[in-house]
């Protein structure tokens, strides 16, 4: 039987286009120290460190956890490095939690980062590989056809994507760590921004960010000594499916549906829209909000866009999505999934500050990656499971 586990520390950097005030080591340490401070701990109290990030080519350092061991206080301790594409921040937190759930460790520090300004993600995503179809156009070019297919299937009106883009940037104004702070954001401003990959406009895309996120995971015993309220882990799940399988549905992937069903079953959730108070879901391009609302069971197939249209997903709606501003406002890729889990934890701890959803008791963290094929999810709650 898995041991009860809680998030007792959360730390983030200020995310930005270029954090040239810190090295990679300085960046991860900034997040780690904030998480430790929140947990009332120091590096000496930590049993193991789990690091996650997206492809090493985004910085040009092969297996950077080796070089980062010192900065994260891992010397003499176990250290793992997770890489599961865009879902990695979520997967990394799940691996770290697994070590506590397994009864191996009492306190695990997990950190995820990306310092995109060290390299060029578009370049790193576009090499010509023998034996494989080239990606060429970067992530937006890959996902745009899936979005067009969603619009075709659902009949969603054009303004839905733009509305998500505005909502998340308004939420980001309440989050001091968010990369984008755009006080004058408006539908018109989004509409007039450059069309990059039809139907994705520039302002419907995530930024490229430097940033890191850290969590301290603790056993029930260690959590009872924490100075701030813990976020109890009620469920975690991962699912993967092959990118190249003919006939898989890339708009509404089975792996996402199975992963959601798994966390809901573990957490005793039968009606996610009614039982989940706030969700942080991985939306790198605006249209993924309605798409994932359906995949996650918050809405029926074909009607996710209606929750956007009637403001249900706004900060004061009945199911606030990405109260933090989401990936559309901060995207240090490798950390973006962990930030979702971190923000979900902050909400149920009542520590989300200006973007706190009143009375949040149950929250969902969601991350996806690869060709909409890797999923990592967690349900956290204010009470013990």
């Amino acid at each position: 039987m898995a041991q009860r586990t809680a998030v007792i520390g959360v730390g983030q950097t200020k995310h930005d286009t270029k954090r040239d005030d810190v090295s990679m080591a300085g960046l991860v340490r900034e997040a780690a120290l904030r998480a430790l401070e929140d947990a009332g701990l120091s590096f000496a109290d930590i049993d193991a460190v789990v690091l996650g990030k997206a492809p090493d080519m985004f910085e040009g350092v092969m297996m950077p956890e080796l070089y980062l061991a010192d900065a994260l206080g891992a010397n003499g301790k176990p250290m793992l490095r997770v890489h599961t594409a865009g879902s990695v921040g979520g997967s990394t937190a799940i691996v770290a939690a697994s070590l506590v759930q397994a009864g191996i460790h009492e306190r695990v520090l997990t950190v995820a980062f990306e310092k995109q300004s060290e390299s060029d993600a578009m370049w790193a995503l576009a090499p010509k590989i023998p034996f494989q179809m080239p990606l060429v156009a970067g992530a937006g070019g890959y996902f745009a056809p899936h979005i067009r297919e969603y619009i075709r299937r659902s009949g969603a009106p054009d303004h839905i994507g733009m509305k998500v883009a505005v909502k998340d940037r308004l939420n980001a104004l309440r989050n001091p760590f968010a990369h984008l702070h755009m006080p004058d954001i408006s539908l018109r401003m989004v509409e007039e921004s450059l069309m990059l990959w039809d139907p994705i406009r520039y302002l419907e895309s995530c930024p490229s960010s430097d940033g890191a996120c850290a969590l301290v995971l603790a056993s029930e015993k260690a959590a009872s000594a924490a100075p701030n309220p813990p976020a109890w882990i009620h469920a975690t799940a991962v699912r993967s499916e092959p990118i190249g399988m003919a006939g898989r549905d890339e708009v509404d992937p089975q792996a996402g549906r199975d992963c959601a069903a798994d966390v809901y079953a573990q957490a005793g959730i039968s009606d996610p829209r009614a039982q989940i108070d706030v969700a942080e879901i991985y939306v790198p391009f605006s249209w993924y909000e309605p798409m994932w609302l359906e995949n996650l069971g918050f809405a029926d197939v074909g009607s996710g866009w209606k929750l956007v249209d009637d403001d249900s997903t706004a900060l004061d709606g009945d199911i606030p999505i990405n109260a933090s501003g989401g990936v559309l406002s901060s995207n240090p890729i490798g950390a973006s999934g962990m930030i979702r889990f971190a923000e979900a934890a902050l909400q149920v701890r009542g520590m989300a500050g200006e973007h706190q959803v009143d009375g949040a008791r149950i929250a969902l963290g969601h991350a996806y990656g690869g060709g909409s094929q890797f999923f990592a999810m967690a349900i956290v709650g204010r009470e013990r499971p």
Partner: protein
């Protein structure tokens, strides 16, 4: 901890693969391991792999590995950018939760596509060390020099490790290098990077390996002789070469103690020592005496598929125990420059 056993192992021969992609090298090995385990695919509750983008020279290299698994319907799956031995650790931890009984672990790597010693440079501190472009062999040579200067070992000791490895590899069909040779003969060879000669260094090889783990009753049901993981632990040290004593391996010592390796009799040890002098360091750190057969497979000096060679150590040790050639074994894996990170796994037959 919950009892977890290695119930099957498969590996590809380590070679320079001109025609096959990583996925093509991996696919038959994965299926062999699953088939040999006697466990139905639906019963495998967790799959985890180890590989490295920088070997393939592309981002998300592991994504294509999933194509070889046949991940449909969707599976619980994870990936470490580490040697497969650490993927096995993650699977072992996941099996401790108690809700699933079997896990598939695999690793793959195609080191031969680039200039491996130079590719490995990119693993070093990107601000202070990598810009100087020390290649992996030069870095290892610094460690070998420090070890010789410390006085406990000689170049002949290193040559004896290499000669024994090559002789043992002659009976290993998966080895890349083998041959009946002697330390005397090897010591006549020129230096590659003083004090390392060619036989002190690994050659770049491509390969894959897969292990199926099963817990408790399931392991006893499917395996004639389950090979139990009695202890497994891993530790890391400071990255900077100047910040640690290169002549010893503190992290191996801590991991071995935590894995319960120190006190009991060990019949055989498979050590991931890609350089001959590193076997000497590891033997000292583990306190291995003449009772223990070291690297009966020929070890990583004779077959070193990056990201795979650590998992192969566990598989080789487990296979010998499963066949009844030994009762208790130790498998070791390493990562990073000069043995920066080390894993120790203690295995015992039913």
């Amino acid at each position: 901890m919950r009892e977890v056993a290695v119930v099957s192992f498969a590996q590809s021969p380590t070679t320079v693969e001109d025609a096959r992609s990583e996925v093509e090298i991996l696919q038959p090995v994965l299926h062999q391991a699953v088939e040999r385990s006697g466990i139905a695919r639906e019963q495998i509750g967790f799959t985890v792999s180890g590989s490295c983008d920088y070997l393939a020279g592309q981002p998300f290299a592991f994504v294509m590995g999933l194509e070889a698994v046949g991940a449909w319907p969707p599976i619980r799956e994870s990936h470490v950018e580490m040697d497969g031995a650490w993927a096995l650790y993650e699977a072992w931890a996941r099996l401790q939760h108690g809700d699933i009984d079997a896990a598939l672990v695999y690793a793959f790597g195609k080191s031969s596509t680039g200039d491996l010693p130079k590719v490995m440079t990119l693993q070093l501190d990107p601000y202070y060390l990598a810009p100087l472009w020390p290649d992996a062999i030069s870095v290892a040579a610094l460690q070998a020099r420090a070890l010789l200067d410390a006085g406990a070992h000689t170049e002949r000791d290193m040559a004896e490790v290499a000669a024994r490895s090559r002789r043992d590899a002659a009976s290993n069909p998966n080895a890349q290098v083998s041959g009946d040779t002697s330390a005397d003969a090897l010591l006549q060879e020129p230096y590659v990077s003083t004090p390392l000669r060619a036989h002190d260094c690994p050659s770049a090889g491509d390969g894959s390996a897969a292990v199926v783990l099963a817990a408790g009753a399931l392991a006893r049901e499917v395996a004639e002789r389950p090979v139990w993981i009695r202890g497994i632990d891993h530790r890391i040290e400071p990255h900077a070469l100047g910040a640690r004593d290169l002549t010893t391996s503190a992290s191996t010592r801590i991991a071995a103690a935590a894995a319960g390796a120190s006190s009991d009799k060990i019949d055989l040890a498979e050590l991931y020592a890609p350089f001959s002098h590193q076997e000497l360091i590891l033997r000292d750190a583990l306190g291995l005496n003449g009772q223990t057969a070291i690297n009966p497979s020929g070890g990583a000096l004779t077959a070193n598929p990056m990201m795979v060679a650590g998992l192969i150590r566990i598989g080789e040790a487990a296979s010998r125990i499963a066949r009844g050639e030994a009762d208790r074994g130790l498998a070791h894996a390493t990562s990073g420059p000069c043995l920066q990170q080390n894993l120790v796994c203690v295995l015992e037959g039913e």
